[in-house]
Amino acid sequence: MFPFSFEWHWDMSHIVFMGGLWYAICIMALGVNYVLGKSFMQTIKGDSGHGHDDHGHDGHGEHH
């Protein structure tokens, strides 16, 4: 339910429960996106992945 639904009321219950739901969904969505984004960056930087403390230019060069 979104606040523009006619069933929505600006009361404590709606704010707490719907807010909680959207908050949890946002945390998960952002978390997953962060992880995927970071992994994607690391991959295109060419980090082979088996020494993750060592990503960046060196790893990239090695890739080619």
């Binding site: 429960f17 969904i25 978390g31 992880v35 992945g49 993750h52």
Partner: protein, 426 residues
Amino acid sequence: MEAAYQKLVRLESQLHPEGVQRAPLWQFVLWLGFFGTVLLWGVYAMFLCWFKGLNQTNMNDYYGFALWIWADLAVIAVGGGAFFTGLLRYVIGKDPLKYIINYAVLIGFICYSSALLILAIDIGQPLRGWFIFWHANVHSMLTEVAFCLSCYFGVLCIEYIPLVLENRKLDEIPFFHHTAHNFHEVMAIFAATGAFLSFFHQGSLGGVAGVLFGRPFAYRPEFYIWPTTFFLFTWSAAACGPCFTILVTKITEAITRKKLVKDNVVELLAKIAGWMLLTYSIAKIADTLYWGFVMLPKHGLQITDFYTNASLIYTKLGGVPWILLIEILCSVIPALILVSKKGRQSKPALVVAVLLGSMCAMINRWVMVLQVMAAPIMTFDQFALYFPSWQELATTVLPVAYGVILISLSHRYLPVFPQERELNPV
């Protein structure tokens, strides 16, 4: 033929985690085949329910909630090991639990996906299931259940995915390797979110029965804005969930004939579970006494009303409300075993304790679903009987078969048990 099989075995063995021994492929396929057949039987029953409707069950207007809802509540309760172990490991910092957290997550994942599947079969109009989110009545406990349950299932997926990506072959792909690694880095956030969500959905499952003021058997006066069953359910899930995790670990060890988790890890979890169970049983007894001797008389009822003139399932054997006693014994006995060092170090005692501990939650959920439905409230009403149809049984066995298959696959191909290599040198 023989050569082709050998080649297949060689290829397949490359998927195994490094440095571990796995059962021969034919044995594994046979094992999967057996449980796969059971699974198909359940899937068939599931489609019957979806296409022909809930008349395929033996539920009726007196038993609107029946075997499925019990199974649902039970798997969620015993699946509580995932959130509680996660909480202990990532938030409270009980480090040794990192050797069992994978398995706890896997069991939780199975339990919760099963619960969602059962719910999808259980509702009369599955295609309208999204109404619970879209037209949510935020005053309903079931809404809270749906919100937290589906969100927490998302958390469990996030926790399980990195384990899948750590499969030896998948791990060779850099993107997957990074993803798994990065997931582990931020796992504490997800674990904390999961613990938060679990607290509420375990509780609101208890609230589902506890708010029914038309059903004095289940109704508990409110404590703040929640009925006491809210807290009892959360507490029992945190207590019994780890018991179930240990139980399944012990079963897995027995079937694979290998030690998979070190004793100190199991004992730590068992000890925490024991204290949780002990405190839970005290709270449960107090709640039962308050309900029986303060609340019921207020409504003109006596505790014996619910344990007499009923079918044998719920009633007296020689005048004793045996199901209530068993429920309480199932929390007290394992609690006493697990809090004592001797108890949890003795393998048979530990197994008995975690078995009883798992049963504790299951019996409690049974009582809070089926007996709530069964107990007549109008004085002239009857005590109806219910026995599940084969379709209900098949769809309830379905998650078990699915769980066995997923555990088997995960154990065979994924590094579920970090200590396995050390404990079983090849």
